[in-house]
Amino acid sequence: MSTNDPYAGERLKLSPFYPRASVLNIREAWSAWNGYKFAEYYYDAEYEYFCVRNQCATYDICPMQKYLVKGRDAEAMLNRMVTRDITKLKLNRVTYVVWCTDEGRLVDDGTIFKLASDEFMLTCGSSCIAWLRMSTYGFDEVNVFDVTDDIAALSFQGPTSCAVLKEMGLEGIEQAKPFDILRFPFHGDTLMVSRTGFTGDLGYELWISPGLALELWDELYSAGEDYGIQPFGEAATNMARLEAGFIMPDMEFNEALKTVHFEHDQTPFELNLGWLVDFSKPHFNGRRALLEEKKRGPKYTLTRLDIEGNKPAEGSYLYGDRNCKKKEIGYVTSAMWSPAVKANIALAMIRTDCLQGEIWAEIYYEKELRHYQKVARCTVKDKPFWSPPRARATPPPDY
């Protein structure tokens, strides 16, 4: 980006896939993500959602922040930063991580790709270069490069996704286990494919240099033509991720460094991500605070709820009694009617000590300008709402 372009602030950046994606965005339904012009949806959010669940679909993840962390101390630096043990991560593998403040509060979540013994790629939803800079302070040999604009990335999800990649000629792609990284020659360059995604289903993410972005798109769409390929936007993603039980900033959690009020941010334990916190590691950021939190038990726990009826419990308060007379025990963070599982689902922050008792949601909804209120029984679900075996199988079934 030129520092001399006075218009820089007024022009959203265009993804390398934009020339193709814009043709398909018939509704011109654009919003913005990290400074990129970004599709809210292309034709119809629910249609796109069903493409993800039933066929295959692409999601432009160029705006996702990508950082290359390189150098002799790269592993040590990342290992101190995140709560998981990165030293256990094998070459060409990916892992989902969270990182916390000294007080054990979530700064952000993301994935780490181990590309070489001294080279990692970190991806996350919003910019984290300032935190990375703080984290590298004091290490002798580690450099962080923002490569967001240097890599074009496309998430490719859905039951037919593996078949399409095979059709495209990516030999051996079916052997990729979840969180594996594979590389394929592509027009004289390398196409990196990871078996990762944000939909809770079979899916891949494709990484290529921006100059070959359109070639990739064209080959993928040509191979996927008979498999129902379709781009999907933010709206459909949000539906799929909620079914998969994945958390979103500004929905399930506040990024700690952007939080104004004391302890209005969350710990991994509150977000039910305790499994990401590896206390066998002697040190990582927030360890002391998290150890205390673990001993004490989190005040709130993020919980999956199946709610009776069909009115989405968006923004609802939760109570321990049907009359909603006692003090509220929590609140819903995300909610929707799941078209695939035919259930009224939600993620909710609930007081840990109230999880065993009854849970009732106070739901407000509207019918033709009349406003109604109802109280619905909630059932805690241990498993994600959507978690088909194919998401984990290697090789995956052909659809």
Binding site: R11, G35, I129, R133, V260
Partner: protein, 541 residues
């Protein structure tokens, strides 16, 4: 000659004096405001100094006006409307520009072209600043407690402050102390690397103060300027339609509606004290007005050293007033323009001038301007903060013509060589015009009329000692329970029945009406009248 006896006389019709008058009158008191100028408003005025052009020739922007007062006194019905700025453009030393867009996405991209790191860090900066601002805002419409007192109310208020502090959490308590005491430059160093971004963020830290960006304490002043809000957007600035005088006129109109009398061209010669109690004033024309209480809207130094007899004061007060830090450090150049100036390196669109222009330079440029002030000079490369209100206020310039307000930091109250002369004043104005011309070639040719105001002029016309726009420096020794003097921070002055309601009192300068409202609350309490002054509203923070 003895006139009729009023309940209260307000000395000075600045916006705080008018606020006090409105609230006292609203409570049913017989109130008279005496103002030396032919117009009310003090430093919040709109004056037609060139035919067709209306200048807000002193204060020029509004962000701190307490909305609960605006709402309570129904100022909109009295003609006041505040319209927020769109983004401000900052100009760096090297011709670089930085635009503060209203859209978060756009602002982020704009920052990113200067420094991706700083663009990211801005989120943390804004969250931290919002946290500090929320803390301070809760104190604005409250009377500071006296920490040496054991009265239940003082203890309660002290506990309130303690509780606010405690609710920040341990880390933020310390961070808050740090923020409150360090320099703007050190504070910003923790977030930013880019010179222009640092400079743009630091600039509110020097406005109106005799401190530099490297002086400890300037970080708080930065907050003092951005803790205001327009419609809940912390840090947003706005213009009053019709100029800053519109605020004063609306307050005056509200006060009159409640029955207050406002006498302009009635400067006060002296505040009268009989048997140790304030009892009235003598006007410059010799008229004497009597009242149960006297409320001074003048600054602390002027009140006690100019309009009161030293013999009427308890021992030590005169010295305290003499030592009160009220340093002139700002100048103002008001310019009538033949057309809209074009600025280099700025997008050519209709939105960009609908905000401010900050001729910011870098931290060093600003600091060097401060160094010049210490030497009793003005800098050839001053910090100038400008706005072209006519870009969105149709009432202040003829159609197609414009007026530009240029606030200049720093400008000494007296020059090293001696007092200001008209020639020196013009040279100062020229330095400002030269600076703008560097970023807007052809600017000089657009000038139709120009008014240059040094601290000296401000003192002469408005009555602010040394031309200090805050009625006293905003340093810890003069804030909260130290403002204006320790032991007299609750609006009651050392002489019985004498009160102060101007910016020399807590919470200090800025067109906020908070000082005036707080003073009214204390007066009503002393008179055992029901309180009519609202609490602040915080948008349910």
């Amino acid at each position: 000659m003895t006139g009729k006896t009023h309940d209260a006389i307000i000395v000075g019709g600045g916006h705080n004096g008018l606020t006090t008058a409105a609230y006292l009158a609203k409570a049913g008191l017989d109130v008279v405001v005496v103002e030396k100028n032919p117009h009310v408003g003090g430093a919040a005025v709109s004056l037609e100094l060139h035919e067709g052009w209306v200048y807000s020739n002193c204060s020029y922007v509004c962000s701190m006006m307490r909305q609960s007062i605006h709402r309570d006194l129904d100022l909109t019905r009295h003609g006041l409307i505040l319209v927020p700025y769109l983004g401000t453009v900052n100009f760096g030393d090297d011709g670089q520009t930085l635009i503060d867009y209203p859209s978060e996405e756009a602002a982020h991209l704009e920052l990113k072209r200067h420094s991706p790191h700083d663009a990211d860090s801005m989120h943390r900066f804004q969250a931290d600043l919002a946290r500090y601002a929320q803390f301070i805002r809760k104190t604005l419409l409250r009377t500071p407690p006296d920490p040496t007192s054991m009265r239940p109310r003082d203890i309660r208020e002290l506990l309130f402050l303690g509780k606010q502090m405690w609710s920040l959490g341990e880390r933020e308590m310390y961070e808050y102390v740090r923020f409150f005491t360090i320099s703007a430059a050190d504070f910003l160093e923790d977030y930013f690397e880019n010179d222009l971004i640092k400079a743009a963020m630091a600039s509110p830290g020097i406005i109106g103060t005799a401190l530099g960006v490297y002086s400890p304490g300037s970080a708080y002043i930065l907050l003092h300027h951005v803790m205001g809000d327009v419609d809940g957007n912390i840090g947003a600035w706005g213009l009053a339609r019709g100029g800053m005088g519109a605020i004063s006129e609306a307050l005056a109109s509200a006060a009159r509606e409640h029955g207050a009398e406002i006498r302009t061209t009635s400067g006060v010669q002296q505040i009268l004290v009989k048997d140790g109690e304030a009892c009235g004033v003598v006007l410059e024309n010799g008229d004497e007005l009597n009242a149960g209480i006297v409320v001074s809207n003048l600054d602390a130094k002027r009140t006690f050293t100019r309009v009161m007899d030293r013999n009427d004061l308890p021992p030590g007060i005169y010295e305290k007033a003499k030592n009160f830090k009220i340093r002139g450090s700002s100048g103002k150049v008001n310019i009538a323009l033949d057309g809209m100036p074009q600025f280099t390196g700025v997008p050519d669109n209709r939105y960009v001038n609908r905000g401010g222009q900050g001729f910011t330079g870098s931290l060093k440029t600003m600091e060097r301007a401060y160094d010049a002030w210490k030497h009793g000079r003005w800098s050839p490369d001053p910090f100038v903060e400008s706005v072209i209100p006519s870009a969105w206020d149709p009432t202040v310039a003829p159609p197609g013509k414009h007026w530009m307000s240029n606030f200049v930091q720093y400008c000494p109250p007296t020059l090293a060589e001696g007092p200001w002369t008209p020639e020196e004043r013009d040279a100062f104005g020229q330095a400002v015009v030269d600076k703008i011309e560097r970023y807007s070639p052809g600017f000089k040719d657009l000038i139709v009329h120009m008014e240059v105001r040094t601290p000296h002029d401000l003192e002469q016309e408005v009555g602010l000692t040394e031309g200090n726009i805050f009625q006293g420096e905003l340093t810890i020794d003069q804030l909260l329970f130290n403002r204006p003097f320790p032991g007299y921070a609750q609006y009651r002055m050392p002489v019985k029945n004498l009160y102060m309601c101007g910016s020399s009192t807590h919470p200090g300068g800025g067109v906020s009406s908070a000082c005036g409202a707080n003073a009214a609350r204390e007066i009503l309490m002393d008179l055992k009248k029901p309180n009519t002054v609202p609490e602040d509203d915080f948008y349910d923070e």
